[in-house]
């Protein structure tokens, strides 16, 4: 008898979300972490959400996950980014109080009865016949389970650089997981090396706030969870300052002492999060760079200066920071550092995030080459759900590019791999107009309910909302108005004789729910949130209809799965070159196969026919 169904290794954002998802699905789950009190720690910037990232958090919430709930409880400055642009590109974001966030994650996890949290170091995996059966801890004790999810973050062969000093470690103050790294290295998976950086941390009590601009949160804060409507914690503002020529001079003069520019780092860093060294070198014509001073907590004086991550020596950091307006007398409480770490090429995973070469083994989070809490948590969710499905003998699920940002991310990772730490952007989603943060529940919660991943409370709340939205839409769609009637209600429309419903005209410029209520008085009886959501759904209808045909084609290709055991060498007529490429890539479905470089329609056709053959025999 196995001790657990699912083992989650690591208590970061991927691990916490994976453990919660698995436990929510009813699997007996154990989360093993080096430090119990560090579960849910935000080790980089103290913020959740943003563009693309906020979408991911909403999708996690649609699966009844914990990240959105924790962010709402810990949020101290909520802002809906792109508030003045269309709903498809609006992303919720909040500054989070580190301590409140960690506490929220820990208390949310404590609510799961089938989840055990264990402190210890995982030394190795138990493997039987190419199948994972559990883990061995550093103290020699064994824990058995059907599935193991590794969420090792930057702990794998982590090296921290401050100037020309370096030491092994995953995060300042934590030991790296060398034992586990060796074990995983034996699996012969492709590996790569990435880097990321952090800025120096400042003592907020030594910042001269009076000379700085401040950025308050929104007047009407937008929450992450579909279940919450207002912040839990007190709200604060962030400060804004900027670098100047003197800062840049100091950085330039000391470039040779930077770990990155001194040649100590081989890993690839993200283009979208350049260090101050990078900014000064690559954008030499800019005479200043903006810095957001983000408080790390309500009762914590630490301030995170977002925009000046660095791997310069501590004394140089001290000098350049003090050259900045408002920071003339600032005390650096912890110098910034760069960290290099190993990741495993995510092309070695299937769309359930299971390692293709090892049944029962799942990877989620930074270990797959991503960056960001939200990206990590979203993968944790997928791995947790699928590990639970595996343990209960049910087939894996994968999310489509056409239904979620999570699907976009996992398809990107498993098809293309990464060349820099992967971060979500709304521009990665080709069906962006349909994949909005505001409709994540409409897109995904029904699916989550079918999987048994959603609590009773949320099911009821979701169903009630879904019914109201359907009713509102039907109400607005069932009556068509003449241009004259529309004009009388204040809707600008050409007198072309075409009759349009109130739902149709909600897509027009300047048409608001008030106009709709003018045309269909009963619409006013729906509460404001339902009215607004109906308007958001109506806004892009014509574009979404145009995309639907593409989506159908995509889903058909995604639906045709290629079994992991599929033998490509058994296909006569397929070129050797393509056979080799397919064997390396092991595409999960025909859509992925179609994207392999050099794939021709003829070869795809052959592949389809061979993939289909067994199922047809089975039917016969």
């Amino acid at each position: 008898m196995k001790q657990f169904d699912v083992i989650v290794v690591g208590g970061g954002h991927a691990g916490a979300e994976a453990a919660a998802a698995s436990a929510r699905m009813g699997s007996r789950t154990v989360l093993i972490t080096l430090r119990r009190d560090a579960v849910g720690v935000m080790s980089c910037n103290p913020a959740i959400g943003g563009l693309g990232k906020g979408h991911l958090v909403r999708e996690i919430d649609a699966f009844d996950g914990i990240m959105g709930q924790a962010a709402d409880r810990a949020g101290i400055q909520f802002r809906l980014l792109n508030r003045r642009k269309g709903p498809a590109v609006q992303g919720p974001r909040t500054q989070a109080d580190r301590k409140l966030y960690r506490q929220a994650i820990q208390s949310l996890l404590a609510e799961y009865e089938s989840l055990t949290i264990l402190q210890g170091e995982v030394a190795s995996l138990i493997v039987n016949a190419n199948r994972v059966g559990g883990v061995v801890l550093a103290d020699g004790s064994q824990i058995t389970a059907d599935a193991v999810i590794i969420t090792a973050g930057t702990f794998l062969n982590g090296v921290i650089h401050v100037g020309d000093h370096q030491r092994a470690g995953g995060r300042v103050g934590d030991a790296p997981s060398i034992l586990l790294a060796q074990q995983l290295a034996d699996l012969n998976l492709q590996r790569g090396r990435l880097k990321t950086g952090t800025p120096p941390r400042l003592d907020g009590r030594t910042i001269n706030w009076s000379v700085l601009d401040s950025q308050p949160g929104d007047d009407e804060p937008t929450m992450f969870s579909f279940l919450n409507s207002a912040p839990f914690a007190a709200q604060i503002s962030c400060g804004i300052t900027q670098t100047n020529e003197r800062t840049h001079d100091i950085v330039r003069q000391n470039l040779g002492r930077s770990a990155m520019y001194g040649g100590h780092i081989s890993g690839v860093g993200p283009r979208y999060c350049p260090s101050i060294e990078d900014k000064v070198v690559r954008f030499a014509d800019k005479d200043h760079h903006q810095i957001f001073l983000e408080p790390e907590g309500l009762d914590d004086p630490t301030v995170y200066p977002n925009g000046i991550s660095t791997s310069l020596p501590a004394e140089v950091q001290h000098d350049y920071v003090r050259s900045i307006l408002g920071l003339e007398n600032v005390v650096v409480t912890q110098p910034g550092y760069a960290i290099e770490y190993d990741y495993f090429d995510p092309r070695g995973l299937d769309t359930a995030l299971q390692v293709k070469a090892m049944a029962g083994l799942f990877f989620a989070g930074q270990i797959n080459g991503t960056t960001g809490y939200e990206e990590a948590a979203a993968q944790g969710l997928v791995a947790g759900v699928n590990a639970s499905l595996l343990a209960s003998g049910r087939p894996a699920i994968s999310l489509s590019r056409s239904e979620s940002y999570i699907g976009v991310m996992i398809d990107d990772l498993t098809t293309h791999g990464v060349t820099e730490p992967y971060r979500m952007f709304t521009s990665r989603a080709e069906y962006r107009l349909a994949l909005r943060a505001d409709n994540a529940d409409q897109r995904l919660t029904e699916k989550a309910i079918a999987l048994g991943c959603v609590s009773e409370t949320r099911i009821n709340a979701y169903r009630k909302k879904a019914d109201l939205l359907a009713a509102a839409r039907t109400l607005l769609s069932e009556t068509a108005f003449s241009p004259r009637e529309l004009q009388a209600a204040g809707v600008e429309v050409s007198a072309d004789g075409a009759r349009r419903s109130a739902y149709d005209v909600l897509a027009f410029e300047g048409v608001t729910p008030e106009h709709a209520a003018q045309l269909v008085p009963d619409f006013a009886s729906f509460d404001e949130a339902i009215q607004l959501q109906t308007a958001r759904d109506a806004l892009y209808v014509q574009y979404i209809q145009r995309q639907d045909r593409d989506i159908q084609r995509l889903r058909a290709d995604e639906a045709l799965a290629i079994p992991p055991s599929f033998d490509y060498s058994g296909i006569p007529g397929l070129s050797n070159e393509l056979t080799q490429k397919l064997k390396r890539a092991l595409p999960t479905n025909i859509f992925q196969a179609s994207k392999i470089e050099g794939m021709t329609p003829a070869a795809l056709l052959l592949l389809i026919s061979h993939v289909r053959r067994p199922s047809r025999q089975a039917m016969a």
């Binding site: 642009k85 283009r271 900014k279 903006q290 709304t426 892009y540 007529g573 026919s609 053959r613």
Partner: protein
């Protein structure tokens, strides 16, 4: 599922051409052209569209699943004329929900619908390979030639425009330019105009089928009609010594250098008080504008007409038999210089044929047209770039995807690369 159509028989002149339509709207679409016979029965029908007769054809409908693709399908056995096939294809392409099939798509559908078994597919693989072989050749041509050169700058412009818009969306919180509208407008307008020009130029492709128009222009009584008759080798136009003999446009169809050509004789260009002659002169100018090539017969070098000159105009001194100046001259009367003139016409038309070949394929034309329509919409929506940038981004993406269908795949990484190399992202 789209309804698709394509010529199922070989291209070019033939006794019969088979056009195949497959998909849920196949019967509806064919039914727009004629009453359909029962399934699996051929019927002779007159195909009509908007009151115009397209062709008389043998029409053969198939009902799902008893067709090559397992879908509803119709075969139109047309007369094997390039013009008929083009016309019927054009009519079908205009119907909502129909599009031209991609290479191998009928076979793919047959496969997807489980209609073909493996041995049949393997038999068909040869056929499909033949198509990808031509695709390979085409790709090679693109590699070394004009399509890549034409599309690359459009792609770069659109990528830049998309990056500007996307930067304002994905990095709203960062130090990126806020008002990108002027640059985006300039980029989109440039591509939009180029696409329009390219589509217009593709008219030369149609001219290969329908014949090039070559107009003869010049002052009254310089011998235009005499030249026409000499070129056509028959008395097509009345000639006389009286200035202004030719008043209307006279057309003669003939072959020059293996190409079908319509020669136009026109009224002499001069100021005239005669109402009828003035109409003739106006027509001459109009045809001069629309002609594919113009021959100007000059009384002396440097003579200027009220017709905008083009770089490829052919200039000849008239009445070579009487000529005293040392310059290229022609005489319809003696035939002097006629061979030389014919050679120059042939060579200039050949150049046009080659230029037209770049975007001659219907698939390319559809891509250009899709891209142009999307850009038009994006330009219209541009004043709202502040509050609905995602809609403009969507249209640019449609245009990029259409053009990328000609050249190859564009990933979002290209887009992000453009953003990151242009702006300092990372607050």
């Amino acid at each position: 599922m789209d309804t698709i159509f394509a010529l199922a028989s070989a291209r070019g002149r033939a006794g019969v051409a088979v056009l195949r339509i497959s998909g849920p709207l196949a019967h509806w679409a064919a039914g727009q052209l004629c009453p359909l016979p029962p399934a699996r029965q051929a019927g002779l029908r007159v195909l009509r569209h908007g009151g115009e007769i397209l062709d008389q054809a043998l029409v053969l409908p198939f009902a799902a699943p008893h067709s090559f693709t397992s879908e509803d399908a119709v075969e139109l056995h047309l007369h094997g004329s390039i013009a008929v096939v083009a016309k019927v294809s054009e009519v079908l392409a205009q119907m909502d929900g129909l599009r031209l099939a991609e290479a191998g798509e009928f076979t793919r559908r047959a496969m997807d619908n489980g209609h073909l078994d493996l041995t049949q597919v393997e038999g068909l693989a040869d056929l499909i390979d033949a198509e990808s072989e031509s695709q390979r050749k085409q790709a090679l041509q693109v590699l070394s030639g004009a399509i890549a050169q034409k599309v690359a700058p459009w792609r770069a412009d659109l990528l830049r425009a998309a990056a500007l818009i996307e930067a304002t969306i994905d990095f709203a919180d960062e130090d990126v330019p806020v008002d990108v509208t002027p640059e985006v407008l300039a980029l989109l307008s440039r591509v939009h105009q180029d696409l329009a020009a390219e589509q217009a130029r593709a008219g030369a492709g149609a001219a290969i089928r329908e014949g090039f128009e070559v107009a003869i222009l010049g002052a009254p009584n310089v011998g235009k009609s005499t030249l026409l008759n000499a070129l056509a080798q028959r008395e097509a136009a009345i000639t006389s010594d009286i200035a202004g003999t030719t008043r209307d446009v006279i057309e003669v169809r003939m072959h020059i250098g293996g190409l079908l050509v319509t020669l136009l004789d026109t009224a002499g260009l001069r100021d005239s008080d005669d109402v009828v002659e003035s109409i003739g002169i106006a027509r001459a100018k109009q045809r001069a504008e629309s002609a594919d090539l113009r021959i100007f017969l000059l009384q002396q070098q440097g003579e200027v007409f009220d017709v905008a000159p083009r770089p490829d105009d052919i200039l000849r001194l008239a009445k070579a038999d009487l000529a005293t100046q040392a310059a290229p001259a022609v005489s319809g009367k003696t035939g002097a210089g006629v061979e030389d003139l014919l050679a120059e016409i042939a060579s200039k038309l050949e150049t046009k044929t080659a230029a037209a070949g770049v975007f001659s394929r219907q698939r390319h034309m559809q891509a250009l047209s899709t891209a142009q329509t999307a850009l038009g919409k994006a330009i219209t929506a541009l004043p709202r770039a502040g509050d609905l940038p995602e809609v403009i981004a969507t249209e640019i993406r449609v245009a990029l995807t259409a053009l990328e269908g000609i050249l190859g795949y564009i990933g979002v990484e290209d887009l992000l690369g453009e953003i990151f190399s242009s702006f300092c992202i990372g607050k």
